[in-house]
Each structure stands twice: as C-alpha cells, then as structure tokens.
Symmetry: C2
Subunit: 327 residues, 2 copies
C-alpha cells in the first residue's frame, strides 16, 4: 500500500536565528498549513524552545487528522548534522554545544524526524518539488547572507564522513582575499553572497567617480536588490557589480563541475532572481573556465520554489524517506 495514502503529509521546520517557520506539506509540495515562532524568545532553554514549537505545531497536525497522518518531520538548521540529528556549535543560534534536536522532536511528537543544514534541505526540496525533479546529479547553491550548498550525487545528498560535506561557500576563490566570517580569507561567500555584492558595490563606488543611481543610497545600506533595480535602469556600475559577482561565481562553479560533473547547477536566493544581469556573466564564466570535456554540459537553473515557501518545503522533503519509528 502506498504510504503517501496512509500518511499523506510531512512537516517541515526551518530554524533561523530570529524566526522558526514550520508547515504541513502534502506530496505535491503544497504547504497546507503553516506557522511560526520567534527562535530568540526561547534563547535560554532548548527544552522551552521545542515545547514552544510543538505547542504551535500540534494544533496544525490535529487539524489534518493527527500524528498518524504525518510521515515524518524534516528540520533545516544551521550546522545541522544529518547523521546524528544534532545541531553542533551553530554560531547564529542561541543554544551552545551539541543539541539532539531531531530526537527531541521525535520524543515529544512520536513522529520520526531528520535534520540537516538549510542548503542541503534546499537541495532535497528542489529535487522533490522544484527545478531538480528527477535529477540524480546536481549542485544546489544558495545565495543569501552567506553562500550555502547542497551536493546531490547518485540521487543522494552528500553528507561526507562527518555529516558536514558541501561547504562550497567556503572554497577559497581569492588567496588572501576578503576576510570571511569563518576566520579565513577569500571564501566564495565573501564575493557572491548578498553581503559580498554589497562589499563589491562599496569597493566599486569608492574606486570610481562616474555617476550611479547607487550613490543616492547610504553606502552601508546598499543591498543586492538595490543593485538589481539600478541595473534595470541601465546603471553601469550596477551592471559591473553583477558582472564581477557573476564571473567569480562562474569560475568557482567551473571547478565544482570538475568535481562531480552534475547535470545541473541550481541557484537559489534573491541574487539568483536578478535575471540576466547575474545569470549571463555566470554562464559566460562557466563556459570560459570549464574543462573542454565538460563544455556545454551542466545546465544553469534558478530554483522553482517560492522564496517564502522554500525553507519549509526543503526541510519537509527530508521527511518523505523516513521510516516509521516502530519499524
């Protein structure tokens, strides 16, 4: 009997430093009910946090027929370790050390739970409901405050020996380049995250004297959205910011292709939605830098999941493969 019939829903929980969002998702990727709590309202005690989430989540589960209708819970969280179901030393979360979060939810709700980092969850979401449906070989790149990645090989997310594989935002693209929050220098995310775009904007505006719409914005508050809007108006500095960002990202993607030769690279995040201003230079840099044997092979795709839904969908997708607890 098809278990989707018996247990037609999964739960997705996405944990961020400020907010935790969750939802009940059906097999076609519709979020049928959803909710949220403030993560930092429970910063003193992880038990209170899990209780707080369950208090808001249980009425949603009851409304869809109770826990027996839920196949599993998928959790996306920074520094999430898939193997152990723990969050380990996450700098952006209030709780310190190693936290067995998957087990805590399993115990309270009696539903099996799996946990991974947000970029891996995004990759599973894209494979289950989005642009990578049916693909067995692709790389997900999330362009947000940082740059995250989820690598899928042979239909499986690559977790590595320790559960933490796929940190492509911290591949070094410029030896002794920009300082990174990780303590090293020249990481991809210092150039190609939303924050990296803003740094490039500040550098370019300081180095050049020509007019730019971006000069009307306080330099410390320029966002990649501002750059996009200026580029649409034909602003040359804005277009150069995207072409620099896209070139550095495309050069890095060419190296990633040499690693796993994926069918596609899927980009997610606000920056990825900046259309041809960013996609064209990325594609050009891939073509210019990829080894001949890989030329023209890997597709460059943009996520098909709505920004507002993606975090819940990605986390929820993890849960479809979970086995029942009493199995």
């Amino acid at each position: 009997m098809d278990s989707h019939m018996e247990k037609p829903y999964v739960v997705g929980i996405d944990i961020g430093g400020t907010n935790t969002v969750f939802g009940i998702v059906d097999a076609r990727g519709n979020i049928v009910l959803n909710g949220a709590v403030k993560t930092d309202a429970f910063k003193d005690n992880i038990n209170d946090y899990v209780d707080g989430v369950c208090r808001c989540l249980l009425p949603l589960i009851e409304a869809k027929g109770g826990v027996e209708k839920i196949k599993g819970i998928g959790i996306g969280a920074p520094n999430g370790n898939y193997y152990s179901g723990t969050i380990e030393f996450a700098p952006n979360l209030p709780w310190k050390g190693v936290i067995p979060l998957a087990a805590m939810f399993e115990e309270r709700l009696g539903i099996p739970a799996a946990l991974t980092n947000d970029a891996n969850a995004a990759a599973v979401g894209e494979m289950t409901y989005g642009a990578a449906r049916g693909m067995k070989e692709f790389i997900m790149i999330t362009l947000g405050t940082g740059v995250g990645s989820g690598i899928v090989i042979n239909g499986q997310v690559v977790y590595g020996h320790d559960g933490f594989a796929g940190e492509l935002g911290h591949v070094i693209v410029r030896r002794d380049g920009r300082p990174c929050g990780c303590g090293r220098k020249g990481c991809l995310e210092t150039y190609c995250s939303a924050t990296g775009v803003a740094r490039t904007a500040r550098e370019l505006l300081a180095a050049r004297t020509d007019a730019s719409l971006l000069r009307n914005i306080p330099v410390e508050s320029i966002t990649s959205k501002n750059v996009y809007e200026a580029a649409v108006e034909g602003d040359e500095i804005a277009m150069e910011i995207f072409s620099t960002t896209g070139r550095i990202l495309g050069e890095a993607l060419a190296d990633f292709i040499a690693f796993s030769s994926p069918e596609a690279i899927v980009l997610f995040g606000g920056l990825a939605k900046s259309g041809h201003y960013i996609i064209d230079p990325i594609r050009r840099a891939i073509d210019d830098n990829v080894l001949a044997i890989f030329k023209g092979k890997a597709k460059l795709l943009v996520s098909e999941l709505k920004d507002s839904d993606a975090a819940i969908l990605g986390a929820s997708a993890l849960a479809w493969e979970l086995k029942d607890i009493d199995n």
Copy 2:
C-alpha cells in the same frame, strides 16, 4: 555460494599511450600472472589491438582454468567512460573518436568488462586492496605526469552525469597561472604533477643564485626523483621546491575537503613517495586552510599498492562487482 569460490579471479588491463599491461588477480590482490603489449604497435587499427591483447591474455586465462574462472575484466584507460564502457577522444592514445572497448573485450572473451579512467581505477584498487580498505568516503589523488583523481562517496566512485567526474587535476589553483596541456591556465596539475615539480625547479633555480645539487643536472631533465635525492642531502632549493609544491596541493585539498568531507585523502605516485619532504608541507597547508569544522578530520595517506602492480590491481578491482553476462 560465494562467487569468489566459483570465479576466483579477475583480469586487470591498464592502457597507456606506450604500453598496455594486464594481469590475472585473485581476491586478495595478488597478481598471479601478468603480461604486456606495446600499445603503439597497434596504432592503425583498434581491432588489431584488441586481438593482440587477447592473444597474450588468453594463455594466461587458460593457465588459471579458463574463462569460467574469471569474474570479469576491469580496464583502466585515459578518458574512459564508465557508463558507456567507451574511450572518448583520448589525446594520448593512437585511436581517434569514441571506442567501445569494454564491449570489444566482452565480445571476444565472453567475460563481462568494465572500464574507467586510470585515477578512478586507482581509487577502486585502493578501496579493494590498499590504504582505503573499508572506507566509504575518500579522495584518491594520483601524482604522475599529470594529476588525476578518483572520488569515492558512499562507497561508490563518483562518475557524474556524463561519466567524467573527478577531474581535480584541472581545478584552477592560480587564476592566469601556468599554461596547462588542457588549454587553460593555472590548473593544479601544472604545479603538483611530476612535470609541475620540474617546472618549479626550473623557476627556482633561475630565480636564485645560491648553490644547489640540482645545478649539476641539465635543467630540462630534472625530475621529482632528483629533487627528492637532493632534499635527502639537505639541499635547500630542493626542500623549497617540495614545500611550494606541497603548499599548493594542500591548499587545493582543503577545498576538496569542503566539497565531500572525506575520511581520508590517499596520494599515489612517485611524488607521494618523497616522504616527509612533501607530506609535511601538504599536511601543514591543509591544516592552515581547511574550514574550522573540518580541522584535523581527514587523514592524509599514501597508497599501499606497489607502483609496478597498482595499475593492474586498480583496473582489476573494477571487475569484482560485475554481473555475469548471462544473468
């Protein structure tokens, strides 16, 4: 019934531009019989080549009880595509285009055959008989005339969408760096292959004026073995050549660790046998460059297979997993 009992042997064939070596291998990795033909003696016709190899190989097979004792044939070849069993546009082999070599051997000998490139074969060999026995997550790096790689994730070699994944010798380590045979610039193999070491030697000897044992050797014929011998004598330039080479390789390995977080990196080839002169700077560069979350995790190992046996063993190891043709 254990199929190793019924069919106790595999055949390994390693195809190089000059020589083809082959052997019959038992389940413990002993080469029980072996032979060789000149690859370039058959450069005009691939059919003559396959006939030539079979003519030398069949008596060895007969001596061990005939084709019914052979589980399969594994072939290591440049530009070998595992999925299709073909060699595709290999620049160092005499035959042009796409050659269905696995099928040609299968047809002539009635034994199932699999084919991949030499570095992937080396990875399977190391996993089956060598330093990576029992490991499910490791990266094999072959340091020869070029730099090759075989990536193992979840116990499987990564072939990618097209069969050609794992070209880590062509990751760019210096943007606009040394010209590479692949037509691009700054590839890892232009610095860390045996040829790369010789290039570094020539650069350093030209840039510096202090005495060196290497100055007694015609500069165009310096090999990594010469550099090793000079380093053993305490030659400072030789030690600097190794420390530069090791640093560049270690920096690249730190990025590879961010990709697949392997249990180990296994180095193979003459350069890898240069002991602490090369291993220490590699290890130091990994420690200095790896993301904090991966620090101290991946082991750095040197291949346990004898150079003279490794090519045949690696290719042969592919064959243990083959299914019988009449299955």
